[in-house]
Symmetry: C2
Subunit: 197 residues, 2 copies
C-alpha cells in the first residue's frame, strides 16, 4: 500500500528492539517531514557509529582508536579495577561519579545454557592485566541475576589466589523503593548486608 | 563519556518522536552490534525515503512519481471520494478493505490557533477536482476532534452547493469498548446515530 521507499524505511525501523509496526510507521512518517539534511545526518551517524566504533584493546570499553578515554586518563586510580558485563555498563558506573579507578568489560556473563563459559568472555585478558600490575582491589559489578552472580563467583575463585582483594557491589533495596513491595530475595540480601549506623 | 560517534548516533535517535535518552542509548548500542550491511541498508532507507517520496499531484497521498498507486488504479469507484487529513490516514482507511473509491488528502485540519485556515489546506485542489467530475459522494473522514469537526463542517458548507452528497463517518463507541467507561460525548453521539436493527 505504501510506496516501496516508505515500506523499506518502516522495515528498517522494525529491526530495532522494542519497535513494533505502529511505532515503525510513526517514525517513518516523521522522517518524511524532517529536513532533508537532518535525515542525511542521521544516516551518516548510523554508518559512522557502526564503522568507527571499536573496543578498547585494554579494557573492552567502546572507543574510537586503540584505547578508550578512561584507559587514557592517567589521573585515575590504578589500584582499583571494576569488572562489568557490557561496555554500556561503564557509563552507568561513570554516572555515579563515585568510582575513579579503571574498568574491565567481560563482554557478557557465564551462561552454560547459551554456551557461554569463561573462555567466551574477556577473562584471560583480565588475568593478564592483573598479573604484575598494581591492582589491589577488583570490584565485581556484574548484574545481580543468576548469570551475573555465577560470573562473580567464578572470578572471585580464580582471582583471590593472585592476592588481589575481590569485592562485590551490594545487593539491597533500591533507593526510593517500598519495603512492602520488595521481593523476599532482595529483602533477605538487604538484611544480610546490613551496616552499623 | 561515549566516543563522539556513539554520542552523535544517540543524538540522532533523540530527534525521533517518543524516543527519550534511555531508549536512544539502547537503540544506539543495538546498532553497534548489528551487521555492518544492515546498518548501511538502514541509512540508505532513511535517505531514499526522504529523497524519493513525494506527494500525489492529484490526491496528496504519498507516492514515488506523479500519481499514487490508488489514483493510478482505474478499477476503483470514481463516484466516491474520501477526504482525510493526512497521507498516513489513507492507509488506515485502506486497511478496512471497505472503501473502493478515491481519496483526497487535505494536509491537516482547520485550526485558527495554529494559523491554519482552508487556504493552508488542499481545499482549492479538492474543489477543482470536483468541478465537472463524476463524483457523487464525498465522505468526510477527518479526525473526530475539534479541528477535524470544524474542517468537516466547513467542507460540507462549501461543497454541498455543488450538488455533491456530503457524508461524515460515524461517531460512536469503538468496537470492543465498555459502555461504562465511554465518555459522555461519545455516548451521546452513539445514541444520536442509533440505527434500526
Amino acid at each position: 500500500m505504501y510506496p516501496g521507499t516508505i515500506a523499506r524505511l518502516i522495515e528498517a525501523f522494525l529491526k530495532l528492539p522494542g519497535i513494533g509496526p505502529k511505532t515503525a510507521a510513526r517514525l517513518a512518517f516523521f522522517v518524511l517531514k524532517m529536513p532533508r539534511e537532518e535525515v542525511a545526518g542521521m544516516a551518516r551517524a548510523l554508518v559512522e557509529a557502526r564503522d568507527k566504533t571499536s573496543y578498547c584493546k585494554l579494557c573492552g570499553n567502546y572507543c574510537e582508536g586503540e584505547r578508550c578515554v578512561i584507559c587514557r586518563d592517567v589521573r585515575r586510580d590504578q589500584a582499583v579495577v571494576c569488572v562489568v558485563q557490557e561496555a554500556r555498563d561503564v557509563l552507568a558506573m561513570e554516572k555515579t561519579r563515585e568510582f575513579r579507578g579503571y574498568y574491565h568489560v567481560l563482554g557478557g556473563a557465564i551462561s552454560p545454557l547459551d554456551g557461554i563459559g569463561p573462555e567466551q568472555l574477556r577473562v584471560r585478558e583480565l588475568l593478564e592485566r592483573l598479573g604484575g600490575s598494581q591492582v589491589r582491589e577488583l570490584i565485581l559489578a556484574t548484574n545481580p541475576n543468576v548469570e551475573g552472580e555465577a560470573t562473580a563467583h567464578y572470578l572471585a575463585k580464580v582471582i583471590k589466589p593472585l592476592g588481589v582483594r575481590v569485592t562485590r557491589i551490594a545487593h539491597g533495596l533500591p533507593v526510593g523503593a517500598d519495603l512492602e513491595y520488595a521481593d523476599e530475595v532482595t529483602l533477605s540480601r538487604a538484611l544480610e548486608g546490613r551496616r552499623e549506623m
